[in-house]
Amino acid sequence: MNQKAPDENLYVEQIIELPFTESAGKYISIFLTKIRDEGKIVANKCPVCHRIVLPPRIVCAYCKVEIEDKPENWVELSDKGTVTDCMGIDDREVDAITGEFVGTPNPILFIRLDGGDEWTILGHIAKEMDASKYPPGARVQAVWKPQKERQGKTSDIQFFQLIKE
């Protein structure tokens, strides 16, 4: 029996919710605890190639060896640094379900923190909206939330602002 295909396209709608509780593990826990409790940014150092790895990791991706949790492998970084890349967001993303903007409109900064090496880069946001104010080479410093507001996330730093040196 031949039937005419229906004129409308039917749908089944679904919203998928996947709840996760992700463990930070030892190395990230150390990193975030230092941020929350001491307002300090720490990295670790590969014993073979001596790269300073941020965020700290149990293994050096390059050498494929363990970076042991020993005092000599931890490095405290400054919260000042030099901009390597700045990316302005001209087109903000919208959440498919809530319709609200996602994240912040601030330009994204990649910062080589003092005390690190060429691999030590932290991603964060700029204080001002004008990305052209943060060319590569610009000097910036973290602006921290007050300690009682810190939760152990990188948002414990509000943003990075330009500094004169």
């Binding site: 994240g103 994204i108 991603g123």
Partner: protein
């Protein structure tokens, strides 16, 4: 017993923004039927089916299970692989390995995406938003990845904005000759240069679309090729290389940042090409290759890849534009298919690079056929910094 292998069939659907009139299963089946027809085979002749898809995009866990009825996998061997943007080429490499064992008569590889069914933005946020690193990760990660490469290219004077627009027009011209491509509209340089800014110097018209569609290839070992095909595309070599020195834990955006090795995402493309050249004695790719397909998530990326795969010296991409070398009628046509900039159904895209080179080697490119193709290279890329290189020849 290790055998040489060839692609004996290629099939694709039409690529569009939305295909509300078909289910995923029906859409995949279209590509499978097209590949079977192209190979003059039936599903009975297929022994194994390998599927690639970024399943979180459509919200289908273990999607190869649901698709078993439409992919042809029912009562056959197979499994699912996935490597992000390069998924399609990873499927190809898996199929190539399986075929080379000689254990199977023919193997079908399928790459597809039906992003109109889900929220790809939500899925992408699952990678560029990190639980612990909850700042500095918003925005479209693919666009910012390309942006950093584009800024670098301008800084090195590889290319001008106007030249990028000229290349974009080339991509559109090629796509118009490809009936399966998604964006098929004549563009002018002015239109491209005036299109809205996405993440400067990246503009909307430079960026790939979100496409829906499927691609399939059929591969056979030499002992079977004789029986099946009088027009095989021999796969001379294939490799994958991963660029994972990510400074960050989860967010993909920082991994595209300038590390001392450059953006790792571009680094892996260069490594894949180098390895193929080294293993196959290719010292002058521009002369020795007849056609190339690269994974250009934006026009800027296509141009960067020209340098990275050594079609010209570093910083000299502009010469290839001035000489129109990479045009369809140039001496080293790149992306006769129109590239990813014209069609991007993520699970299929990397496979389409391989498929198009096979199409060209087999002389099935019709309006976009490059003359006298004896050897072609497909190099893919994609989050997360996997790149594949596949070398295909008319005869081994």
């Amino acid at each position: 017993m290790s055998e040489r292998i060839a692609i004996v069939g290629v099939g694709q659907t039409y690529f569009k923004s939305r295909r509300p009139e078909v289910s995923e299963l029906e859409m995949v089946n279209e590509a499978v039927m097209a590949a079977l027809e192209n190979a003059h085979l039936t599903i009975k002749d297929i022994d194994a089916v390998v599927v690639g898809n970024m399943e979180l995009f459509e919200g289908d866990y273990q999607v190869d299970m649901w698709l078993a009825g439409g992919s042809g996998a029912y009562l056959k061997s197979g499994f699912k692989v996935q490597t992000g943007g390069s998924t399609g080429s990873s499927v190809c490499c898996t199929v190539f390995d399986l075929a080379a064992t000689g254990e199977f008569k023919t193997i079908l590889g399928i790459g597809f995406e039906k992003q109109d069914e889900g929220s790809s933005q939500a899925s992408l946020r699952s990678i560029h938003e990190d639980v612990f690193f909850d700042v500095g990760s918003s925005g479209k990660s693919a666009a910012t990845a390309v942006q950093s490469v584009a800024l670098d290219m301008m800084h090195r004077k590889s290319i001008t904005e106007e030249q990028v627009a000229i290349v974009r027009v080339k991509q559109a011209e090629n796509a118009m000759r490809n009936p399966n491509a998604h964006l098929r509209r004549k563009l002018t340089v002015e239109e491209v240069m005036n299109s809205p800014k996405l993440a400067w110097p990246l503009r909307v018209f430079h960026m790939c679309p979100t496409s829906v569609g499927a691609c399939a290839i059929i591969v056979a070992p030499e002992s079977q090729v004789k029986k099946i095909s009088n027009n095989p595309a021999w796969v001379a070599d294939w490799t994958n290389i991963h660029g994972a020195i990510q400074p960050f834990y989860g967010s993909i955006t920082p991994s595209t940042v300038s590390t001392p090795l450059g953006p790792m995402w571009a680094w892996s493309v260069e490594q894949a090409a180098n390895r193929i050249y080294k293993r196959n004695g290719i010292t002058n790719p521009r002369k020795e290759l007849d056609v190339v397909e690269v994974y250009d998530m934006a026009t800027w990326a296509e141009i960067e890849w020209w340098e990275r795969i050594h079609l010209c010296e570093r910083n000299d991409a502009h010469k290839l534009v001035e000489e129109r070398a990479t045009w369809l009628d140039g001496d080293i046509p790149v992306n006769p298919s129109g590239g990813v900039t014209s069609t991007n159904a993520i699970g299929a895209s990397a496979m389409q690079r391989v498929a198009e080179v096979a199409i060209q080697v087999r002389g099935e490119g019709s309006e976009r056929q490059v003359p006298n193709v004896k050897m072609g290279l497909a190099v893919t890329a994609g989050g997360d910094m996997y790149s594949a290189g596949v070398l295909i020849k008319k005869s081994l």
